[in-house]
C-alpha cells in the first residue's frame, strides 16, 4: 500500500509539472467563463446554458486529460526506460499499474475540483443581486448542489476512460492506445444502440458482434446526467450508487487485465 502511494504521488507530481495540463485547465476555465457571455444571448435560459456548457467543459477537458495522460502513464516509463530503475526496487509490477492509475485519478480529482469551483464562481457572480422574481422563475437554483452529483459521475466516467487508456497502453503504442480509448469512449455512448442492433439488422453475425460489443464495452451514457441537473430534474441516490458501483466494477476489471498483461511483459 505504501509503495502504491509513492508511485501515485510521483505520478501526480509528473502531471502537475506538465505545462500541457495547465493549458488545458486554463482553457477549460476560460470556456466556463465564456458561458456567461453565451448565456446573455438567450432570454431566461442563461443559467441553464452556463451549467450545460460548464459541465460539458469539465467532461471534455477531463476526457483529454484522462486519455492523453493515461496513455503515457506506462508507455512513457517503458519508452524512456525509467521502468528499469523502478522495477529493480522492491516493487511488484501490478503495483506500478495501480499506483499510476491512482496518481492520475488524483490529478483528475484536483483539476475537476478547480474547474467546478470556477463554474460555481461564475454562477455565483451572475446570480448575485438577482431579484426574487427571476429566482422563483428558475427550475433549479443558481448554485444548485445537484451539480456536484453530475461532477462526481463525470469523475467516475473519467476513471473508466483512464483505466481503458492504461489497459491499452500496457500492450500497445501510445498513438494506438489513444485511438482505441477514444473509440471505446464514443462507442460507450452508443451502448443502448448496440443492444437494440438486432431490431435494425437481420444478419446473424452482425447481431452477435453487436451483442458481444454491448457486453464488453462500457456503458457511459448513464454517467452523463447533465441535462437532468440543468433542468432541475431529481437524480436519486440509488441511481448514483448503482451507476458508481457499475463504474468501479468496470475499472477493477480493466485494471486487473492491464496489471496481468503488464506483469507478463518483456521490457526489451
Amino acid at each position: 500500500m505504501r509503495t502504491l502511494g509513492w508511485i501515485a504521488i510521483n505520478g501526480f507530481r509528473e502531471s502537475v509539472r506538465d505545462k500541457v495540463l495547465y493549458s488545458l485547465v486554463v482553457f477549460a476555465i476560460l470556456l466556463i467563463g465564456a458561458s456567461y457571455l453565451l448565456g446573455q444571448l438567450t432570454a431566461g435560459q442563461d443559467f441553464k446554458i452556463m451549467k450545460d456548457l460548464g459541465l460539458s467543459s469539465i467532461a471534455l477537458f477531463g476526457l483529454f486529460m484522462a486519455v492523453f495522460i493515461g496513455i503515457g502513464l506506462v508507455s512513457k516509463e517503458v519508452e524512456r526506460r525509467s521502468i528499469y530503475g523502478l522495477l529493480a526496487k522492491p516493487v511488484r509490477r501490478h503495483e506500478i499499474v495501480l499506483g499510476k492509475f491512482a496518481g492520475l485519478v488524483l490529478t483528475l480529482t484536483v483539476n475537476i475540483a478547480i474547474m467546478t469551483v470556477a463554474l460555481y464562481a461564475v454562477l455565483a457572480y451572475v446570480g448575485w443581486g438577482e431579484d426574487e422574481f427571476a429566482r422563483q422563475a428558475r427550475e433549479a437554483p443558481a448554485l444548485d448542489p445537484a451539480l456536484l452529483k453530475a461532477v462526481v459521475l463525470i469523475l467516475v466516467q473519467l476513471m473508466i476512460v483512464t483505466a481503458t487508456a492504461l489497459f491499452f497502453s500496457t500492450f500497445s503504442t501510445p498513438i494506438l492506445s489513444a485511438f482505441l480509448t477514444f473509440g471505446v469512449y464514443v462507442a460507450g455512448y452508443f451502448s443502448q444502440d448496440l443492444r437494440n442492433f438486432d431490431q435494425v439488422v437481420s444478419s446473424k453475425p452482425v447481431q452477435l458482434l453487436a451483442r458481444g460489443l454491448y457486453y464488453v464495452l462500457p456503458n457511459l451514457s448513464p454517467f452523463d446526467i447533465t441535462s437532468q441537473v440543468v433542468h432541475g430534474l431529481p437524480v436519486g441516490w440509488r441511481y448514483m450508487t448503482v451507476t458508481m458501483a457499475y463504474g468501479f466494477v468496470y475499472v477493477a476489471i480493466l485494471l486487473t487485465l492491464g496489471a496481468t498483461i503488464f506483469s507478463r511483459r518483456d521490457f526489451k
Binding site: R2, W6, N10, R13, R17, R81, Y84, L87, A88, D266
Partner: protein, 311 residues
C-alpha cells in the same frame, strides 16, 4: 552462504520479424556463479548478451529456459530486491524531478523512514559529488551527472549486491576514477559487485573474476590470473650502460631494442630465449640491469582472440 548471483543454463530467445516471427537467441545456456563479496566483471562486445543477462537477473525480461537466482532467491523476489542496487546503462530518470526528489522517491520505495531517508539522500548526493545540484531538475543534468545520480540511487538501500550496467559509460576520466574507487569501497565493505563492461582496463583494475560473453555464449570465465597467467608472451628487459658493439652482438637474441634515453635500452626478449642466460651475458659486458618484467597477454589480447575466433 548462497551465491550472490547464480545462473543455470539461462537462455533467452527474442521473437524477431513482423509477420512471420522467428526466435533469435540472445543468450545461450549461460551458467555462472558470482560469489558473495567479490567484484565480478561481465565482459563482451556490444550485442554479446550482457544487458539481456542483467535484464533476466532483474526480471525485466523472462527466460525462455534455465533459471537464475539473486542472493539465493528467484529474480523479482521482493526480499532480494530490498538488498539489491542496480544502475541501468545510460540511465534515464524522471527528468521533472530534482536529484533529491528522485532519491527520496526511491528511498520511499525501499521503505526507508523519513529521517533515515533524508540523511541517506543527503549523504549520497554529497558522496557522488552532486551536493550543490540536489535541487536542480534532472532535465538540466549532463550525461555524467545523470550517471552519478544513477550510482547514488543504486546505493540508497546499502545493498549487499550491486549490479552495474556499463558504469563507466559517459564519464570523464575523473568520474571513471571515482567509480573505480567506489567499486573498491563497496568490495571492502563486503558488497558483491557485478558489472558489465566492454572497457577491459576497468575489469583488469577491479575484478577478482570475469566472464566473457560473445554472441550470447560464455566463452571464458574465471580468475583473471588463471585466464591470463599461462600466456607469458616474452620478457621486457631494461638495461643501462649497454655498449654499441654488445647491442649488435645480441640482435639475433632479442625481438626489439628501443633506446629510452639516459643511455638505457628496452629490450624485448622472445620466450624462446631464456632471459637469465641473456642477463648473465649482458652483465659480463658491464651492462647494468634496471628491470625485468614478463610480457603477459593482456585481457584485451585474450578478449580479441576469444570473441573473434570462429565458433
Amino acid at each position: 552462504m548462497p551465491f550472490a548471483i547464480e545462473t543455470v543454463d539461462l537462455t533467452k530467445d527474442y521473437a524477431v520479424g513482423f509477420w512471420r516471427q522467428r526466435p533469435r537467441r540472445a543468450l545461450d545456456r549461460l551458467s555462472l556463479q558470482v560469489e558473495a563479496g567479490e567484484v565480478f566483471g561481465f565482459l563482451g562486445p556490444n550485442g554479446a548478451g550482457k544487458t539481456t543477462t542483467l535484464k533476466l537477473l532483474l526480471q525485466l525480461v523472462f527466460p525462455t529456459s534455465g533459471e537464475a537466482r539473486i542472493l539465493g532467491r528467484p529474480p523479482g523476489d521482493l526480499v532480494a530486491k530490498r538488498r539489491l542496487g542496480y544502475l541501468p546503462e545510460n540511465p534515464y530518470f524522471y527528468d521533472y524531478l530534482t536529484a533529491e526528489e528522485l532519491l527520496t522517491y526511491f528511498g520511499g520505495l525501499f521503505g526507508l523512514r523519513a529521517a533515515d531517508r533524508r540523511q541517506r539522500v543527503s549523504t549520497l548526493l554529497d558522496e557522488v559529488g552532486l551536493g550543490s545540484e540536489r535541487r536542480l531538475q534532472l532535465r538540466k543534468f549532463s550525461k555524467g551527472m545523470l550517471q552519478r545520480v544513477g550510482i547514488a540511487q543504486a546505493l540508497l538501500n546499502e545493498p549487499d549486491l550491486v549490479i552495474l550496467d556499463e558504469p563507466m559509460s559517459g564519464l570523464d576520466p575523473l568520474g571513471r576514477r571515482d567509480v573505480r574507487s567506489l567499486i573498491l569501497r563497496l568490495r571492502d565493505r563486503g558488497c558483491s559487485v557485478f558489472f558489465s563492461s566492454h572497457v577491459l582496463s576497468d575489469a583488469e583494475a577491479l575484478c577478482s573474476r570475469v566472464a566473457i560473453l560473445a554472441k550470447g555464449k560464455l566463452v571464458a570465465s574465471g580468475r583473471l590470473s588463471d585466464i591470463l597467467a599461462f600466456s607469458v608472451r616474452g620478457w621486457e628487459l631494461v638495461v643501462a650502460d649497454l655498449r654499441e658493439e654488445v647491442l649488435t652482438a645480441i640482435t639475433s637474441r632479442v625481438s626489439r631494442a628501443v633506446p629510452i634515453g639516459g643511455g638505457r635500452f628496452e629490450l624485448e626478449v622472445p620466450t624462446a630465449t631464456p632471459p637469465d642466460q641473456l642477463l648473465t651475458d649482458l652483465t659480463a659486458t658491464g651492462a647494468r640491469l634496471v628491470s625485468l618484467n614478463p610480457i603477459r597477454e593482456t585481457l584485451e589480447d585474450f578478449f580479441v582472440e576469444r570473441v573473434t575466433q570462429p565458433r
